[in-house]
């Protein structure tokens, strides 16, 4: 195969891959969220994330355990959110996938995969990481037992 023809074949092949990928992904659509039961640890975390994403920080804060709320009251939570979420200065798109639950009884840990897409234009980047969230049962409800901003650890404020 001559050099020119091989370059044409490569260019055509790349264009074909782009078209196939775009068509397949668009036809397949995005993954639907699974609705977890309200009385499950996964369901509690899901509702916390929904409240957080809607900007209802008071509702999101209510999903923390008593110990976490003592450590980080609503004002501190709002400050942490405004500090941490504004750090990047750019738009972020992210999603959380539930992987597994470990432990049993009134204290479990949820393993999640987080996908984030940050930035704009050709400077944007996409990455994926794992997080583990401790959950405790308080009364009839499951609560998050770690101070978080979305699913990331909240910065601790000094106490005097």
């Amino acid at each position: 195969m001559s050099s020119n023809r091989s370059l044409l074949a490569i260019g055509g092949g790349v264009v074909a891959i782009v078209i196939i990928a775009v068509v397949v992904v668009l036809l397949a659509g995005d993954r639907e969220s699974v609705e977890f039961g309200e009385d499950t640890p996964e369901g509690a975390l899901q509702r916390y994330l929904a409240a957080f994403d809607e900007g209802d920080l008071a509702a999101a804060h209510a999903f923390f355990s008593d110990g976490v709320r003592d450590q980080m009251d609503l004002d501190a939570f709002e400050r942490a959110v405004s500090g941490q979420e504004g750090d990047f200065g750019t738009e972020r798109t992210r999603r959380a996938l539930f992987d597994a639950r470990s432990g049993d009884g009134d204290s479990v840990r949820l393993q999640l995969t987080v996908e984030e897409f940050t930035g704009e234009g050709l400077g944007a980047s996409s990455y994926r990481y794992q997080v583990e969230i401790p959950m405790v049962r308080e009364g009839d409800a499951w609560r998050i037992d770690e101070p978080l901003v979305w699913l990331n650890p909240a910065p601790l404020e000094p106490r005097f």
Partner: protein, 555 residues
């Protein structure tokens, strides 16, 4: 002018190729994950990450593809057989550098992709519940970068098929080949070591002490990591070695270029150094764990753990020893088959000097530390008084290393001595010997300077009444040990160098300097595919007595 143009063409080709590979692999990742090779977890919440990734990937490809096609078309057109300057372009050092960098980067990306894919598969099969992994991401990167790598291998092979390549145009891609083979072999050996440890611990039912005992699938990540080393490293090493060996056997100009290549010898020497170092370290680890038993400081809590601590490093050492032995034999066989006495001599030196240097490095370091421990124990330093097992642990670690290191040094240095006894002048003028002696001298001087600096700092601090932390005996024991050994090593090698220098001076005096009455520089050029070396050889035969013709540079 042409060099600047080449730099522009190949730089732009390289950058756009990198962006194209990144965009295509991201696009393919989205596609593969959409058809079931992504994280399997149920979506808790989130936005349209896939749509964003698709947008970015498409934009990257749309920008980079035309840029790469245009610049690569220009690069390829300049080496077309119908072009007058094709031979110059094809053999240029810039093109050689481009292929070396592009092949290395694409191989690294493809290897990373395969490694990520293998890890994901093993972790998924092990059902570890440690987060779902994406097979698609690794597979996409491996496919795209692998295809790019194969394309560039094909193009470079076509370059060679069109005529000989010399100078940097030849050795830069060759450097890539041998560096890749070396890294592949090191990954393979590390993988074999990891595999021995995982399988051994599974057989003995002894998880590593740092693992959570309640986590039954502790072996998943170590196994995945070991398999990556064996499969990816092994694949890279075998592929590049077989290709290089095929080139050596080639009867044409490729073989003629490859056989005498110094880079090939450098590869063998580097493997001998690394494999002998690995063997010594693992043997010393096994012996140290054995010595720890009578000293009462073994990390093993039961007999099975103790056996594991001794046996597993020994088995891993076997892999390094085999690599050492094989490369030694291969290098020797190649030198003998070359029919060149000089090559045989060089090969023999490379078998002895670098390994002697490795043995010396380990033994000198260990002896310096042992002297430090003994000073501590004798003068009641902090390590001896701490009441713990610190100095016992240090002796168990360093005594085997000192003994094995010194044994290897004596073994190889005796062969060096035999060579010296047969042909002292030949050894004195050898570059390998001089390099080895200078490396040992430099290491001894630098270590001595560092140790003396620490000792003097402490001494002057005491004189000037500066408050200093730490027990003075313990703080000074190791620098004193290092200084004593460094002085001994530096003095021994300096004496050897001085003796060699004296022999070289005598040799030069006996030969006398050649008298050159007149000299002019000529430029010889020829058509594409010309053999300038052959023409020079023919011309040399026609010269009158007393004249000589010398090729200074070949392009």
């Amino acid at each position: 002018m042409q060099t600047a143009r080449r730099l522009y063409i190949y730089l732009l080709s390289g950058i756009s190729l990198g962006v194209l590979v990144a965009g295509l692999s991201m696009l393919l990742t989205v596609l593969l994950e959409r058809i079931g090779l992504g994280p399997s977890g149920a979506q808790l919440s989130g936005g349209d990450v896939v749509g964003q990734q698709l947008t970015l990937a498409s934009a990257l490809v749309a920008v980079s593809l035309p840029v790469w096609l245009i610049h690569w078309f220009a690069a390829e057109r300049s080496v077309g057989p119908d072009r007058e300057t094709a031979s110059i372009e094809r053999t240029s050092e810039v093109r050689g550098l481009f292929f070396a960098v592009a092949l290395g980067a694409l191989l690294l990306a493809a290897g990373t992709g395969v490694a990520s894919m293998l890890e994901s598969i093993v972790v998924r099969l092990a059902d570890t519940d440690i987060g779902s992994r994406s097979i698609g991401g690794g597979l996409a990167l491996a496919v795209v970068a692998g295809a790019g790598w194969l394309y560039h291998v094909w193009i470079r092979s076509r370059d060679w098929a069109r005529g000989p390549i010399t100078g940097a145009g030849a050795w830069l891609p060759r450097a890539y080949r041998y560096v890749a083979a070396f890294i592949g072999l090191m990954l393979l050996l590390a993988g074999v070591g990891g595999l021995v440890e995982v399988v051994g611990r599974l057989v003995l039912d002894e998880p590593p002490p740092y693992k959570d005992p309640s986590f039954s699938a502790w072996w998943a990540y170590p196994l995945a990591s070991a398999l990556v080393g064996v499969l990816v490293g092994g694949g890279v090493w075998v592929g590049h070695r077989l290709y290089a060996d095929r080139l050596v056997r080639d009867p044409g100009w490729r073989g003629a270029s490859e056989r005498p290549a110094r880079l090939r010898l450098a590869y063998f020497a580097a493997v001998l150094v690394a494999a002998s170092a690995g063997t010594i370290l693992l043997l010393a680890e096994a012996a140290g764990n054995l010595l720890a038993v009578p000293l009462g400081i073994s990390d093993g809590e039961d007999a099975a753990q103790v056996i594991g601590l001794i046996l597993l490093p020994l088995l891993s050492a076997v892999a390094y020893a085999i690599a050492w032995w094989l490369h030694s034999r291969w290098m020797e066989a190649e030198a003998v088959s070359s029919g060149s006495d000089e090559r045989v001599e060089t090969e023999d030196r490379l078998e002895h000097y670098p390994v002697a240097l490795v043995g010396l490095a380990f033994s000198a370091t260990a002896v310096a530390w042992i002297i430090g421990v003994l000073i501590d124990a004798t003068l009641g330093g902090g390590r001896a008084l701490s009441g713990g097992d610190v100095w016992r642990r240090e002796l168990a670690d360093w005594i085997p290393l000192a003994l094995i290191g010194i044994a290897v040094w004596i073994w190889r240095w005796r062969s060096v001595g035999d060579r010296w006894a047969v042909d002292p002048v030949g050894e004195a003028v050898s570059t390998t010997r001089r390099a080895m002696l200078l490396i040992a001298l430099a290491a001894g001087v630098l270590a001595g300077i560092a140790a003396a600096g620490l000792i003097l700092y402490r001494l002057f601090g005491s004189i000037f009444g500066i408050s200093q932390v730490g027990d003075p005996v313990s703080e000074l024991s190791r620098p004193v040990g290092v200084l004593l050994v460094a002085v001994a090593v530096a003095a021994y090698h300096a004496i050897q160098l001085r003796r060699d220098q004296s022999m070289r001076t005598d040799l030069d005096a006996s030969r006398g300097e050649p008298v050159v009455a007149a000299r002019i520089n000529l430029r010889l050029s020829g058509p594409p595919g010309a053999d300038p070396s052959g023409v020079v050889a023919t011309l040399r035969q026609q010269l009158p007595p007393g004249y000589d013709l010398e090729a200074l540079e070949e392009r």
